[in-house]
Symmetry: C2
Subunit: 320 residues, 2 copies
C-alpha cells in the first residue's frame, strides 16, 4: 500500500484539500468554505473533509500526515497568529487572534499535522513539482488579494528565528504611503496586490480626467479583473495602472535580490494573469535598481502549477 | 603539533593578517598596506606576510589554510569583483575589475585559500566567537566607510545563488536619494555609513543656519569622528545628524526583519562608536516599521570583538 499525504490550502474564502502521492499527483480534492465564524465548527468541517477524502482514496493508499499552507501560519508552534482575513481565527472580541490549528487538527484526525504560511507552501510546491525544480535559491512572490512571499535559500525555506520570515508584502515601498491592513504604511501589498491595483485605479480615476472604460464601473467595486479587461481592450488609463504597479513591484524585487541573491524570482497568484501589462516595466524597474553584478541576470519565472495545486502540493510535501 | 589558520581582513587602506588557533586565539598579527596599484605586487606582499607569520608561529603549530574577508569577495569562484575601493583590483583602464585572489594566493603560498566578503567574515566571527554565539538567525550590519551585511539563517551564512547575497548597504532607503558609488541612488550606505553621516552634516550645515561646532571645520573634510566629538560636546546640530541617521537606519532594519525574521541584528564598525547618539531613534524607527508579531522583540546587539579581530577570526573560521 503506498503512502499518501493530505495537502490543505487555506484561504480567506475557501479551503482546498487534496490527497497527494509521493510523486506529486493529486488523486482527489475537495473544497470547503472558510467563511465560518467559529473555530470549533471550522475544525469539525476540516476534519470531516479529511476523513471523507481518506475514505475515497482508501484503495490507493494510506494517508501518513497532513500539511497545511495558511495565511500567518507558524511552522514552529503550529499556530495561526493574527490573520486579518480568517474569520474563524478571531478572538472573543472579534479581533484576529491565535489558534492552535496543528494541534487541534491532529487531535481531531489522528494524523500528524505540519503547517506553514501559504506563500511558503507555494514556494515548496514550485520547488518540488513546479517551475523552480532544480533552482535552490529563489524568492516566491504571491500576488493575490495580498502579497505573500516564500524564500528558498540553499534549497531550504527560510523560516527565521520564529517561523515568520518572508513577509515581503509588508516591506515599505513608498515612504508614508498607503495605509495597510497590517498597521504600517506604504507596504508593497498596498500597491502590488489585486487590492492594491484597485486602489491605484481609484486614485488614477480621481486625479486624471481622461476618458476610460473604468469610469463605467462604481469606483468602490472596481476589481483587478475589470482593470485587466479594460487594458485588454486598449484602455490607456488601465494600461498605465499596470505600468505603475510594475514599476513599484520591480523596484521592490531589486531590493529583495540584494538580500538573498536568488537565481530567480517566481511570481504566482491571480495578478500574474495581467502580466502582459506589467512584466516589461517590472523587469526594467528591477534592473534599474540592481548593481552591475546582477543586472539582466535574475530570471523572472511565472508559476507553472495551477494556483490551488501549487499550495496543495507544497503543503503536502511537508509530510514526507 | 596543533593546526593553525591564517585569517586576513582586507580593507581599502590596509590588510590585517593573523594566525589563529582553532579555539579563536590570535597568536600573532601583522598589518600591511592595501594602497598598492598593481595586483602582482600586492599579492607578493600578502604572500610574504603569510610566510613571515608562519615562521613566527612555527613553534606553536602548522597553518592548514587561509581565510580571507574582503569587499566584493565571492566565495564561490574565489574572485573579487568590481570593488570600488581596492586600488590593486582595477583593470587596465583603472576601473574596478575582476581579480582571482583565492587562486593566485593559493599558488603563491601553497595553502588552501577561501574568501568571502568582509561583512560575511565578520558575521562568522561574531557567530563563532562573539556576541552572536548561540544565535542561529541574525543579520550583521557593518557600519564603516560603507555599509556591509552578512545574514546568518538557520546557523548558516546566506550566500545566494552566486555568492553575492547580503548587499543590504545598497537597498534603496530614499527614493531618488543620494548618488551611491555603486551607481544606484538612495542606498542605505549613502546615509548610514561614516561617509553618509559626513554627507548629512554637509547638507544640514547648508540648509540650517544655526551655530554649530561643525562650522569650524572645512565642510569637505568633516568626518564622522568630528560629528561625534561635536555631539559629545552637546552640539545640537551634530546630535540631529545622528538622530536623522538613526531614523533611516532603523526603518531599513525593520524591512530587513521582514525578510529573514532574525532573533537579533548585530551592529559592527566604526560608526557604532557614536551609538549613544543614534541608538534610541534607530530602535524606535525600526519598531515603527514592524508588524505586531515583531514589535519590541528584535534584539539589537553591538559587536563585542575588536573590529579587526572579528573579521580575522571570521575569515580564519572558514579554514576549519
Amino acid at each position: 500500500m503506498q503512502k499518501l499525504a493530505i495537502g490543505i490550502d487555506i484561504g480567506g474564502q475557501s479551503s482546498k484539500c487534496g490527497v497527494v502521492t509521493q510523486d506529486g499527483t493529486i488523486l482527489c480534492q475537495s473544497v470547503v468554505t472558510s467563511l465560518i465564524d467559529n473555530f470549533d465548527e471550522y475544525l469539525a468541517l476540516l476534519a470531516d473533509t479529511v476523513k471523507d477524502l481518506t475514505r475515497k482514496t482508501a484503495a490507493q493508499g494510506i494517508p501518513v500526515g497532513i500539511g497545511i499552507g495558511a495565511p500567518n501560519a507558524n511552522r514552529i508552534d503550529g499556530t495561526i497568529r493574527y490573520a486579518p482575513n480568517l474569520r474563524w481565527a478571531r478572538d472573543a472580541e472579534g479581533k484576529p487572534g491565535v489558534v492552535y490549528l496543528a494541534a487541534r487538527l491532529e487531535e481531531a484526525t489522528g494524523l500528524h499535522v505540519r503547517i506553514t504560511n501559504d506563500a511558503n507552501a507555494a514556494a515548496r510546491g514550485e520547488h518540488t513539482y513546479g517551475v523552480a525544480r532544480g533552482i535552490d535559491d529563489f524568492i516566491m512572490i504571491t500576488l493575490g488579494t495580498g502579497v505573500g512571499s516564500g524564500i528558498i535559500s540553499h534549497g531550504r525555506l527560510v523560516y527565521g528565528h520564529d517561523g515568520f520570515a518572508g513577509e515581503l508584502g509588508h516591506v515599505c515601498v513608498v515612504q508614508d504611503g498607503r495605509q495597510c491592513n497590517c498597521g504600517l504604511k506604504g507596504c508593497l501589498e498596498t500597491y502590488a496586490s489585486a487590492m492594491g491595483v484597485a486602489r491605484t485605479a481609484r486614485e488614477f480615476l480621481q486625479k486624471d480626467s481622461r476618458e476610460s472604460l473604468l469610469r463605467r464601473i462604481d469606483p468602490e467595486s472596481i476589481s483587478s479583473k475589470d482593470i485587466y479587461d479594460a487594458a485588454a481592450q486598449g484602455d490607456e488609463l488601465a494600461k498605465e495602472i499596470f505600468v505603475f504597479t510594475g514599476r513599484i513591484l520591480g523596484r521592490a524585487l531589486g531590493d529583495f535580490v540584494k538580500f538573498s541573491s536568488p537565481q530567480a524570482i517566481v511570481l504566482f497568484g491571480g495578478l500574474t494573469k495581467s502580466r502582459e501589462f506589467f512584466h516589461d516595466e517590472m523587469v526594467r524597474a528591477m534592473n534599474d535598481n540592481l548593481m552591475q553584478i546582477w543586472k539582466d541576470k535574475i530570471q523572472i519565472l511565472y508559476s507553472s502549477l495551477k494556483e490551488s495545486d501549487a499550495a496543495i502540493l507544497g503543503a503536502s510535501s511537508m509530510v514526507w
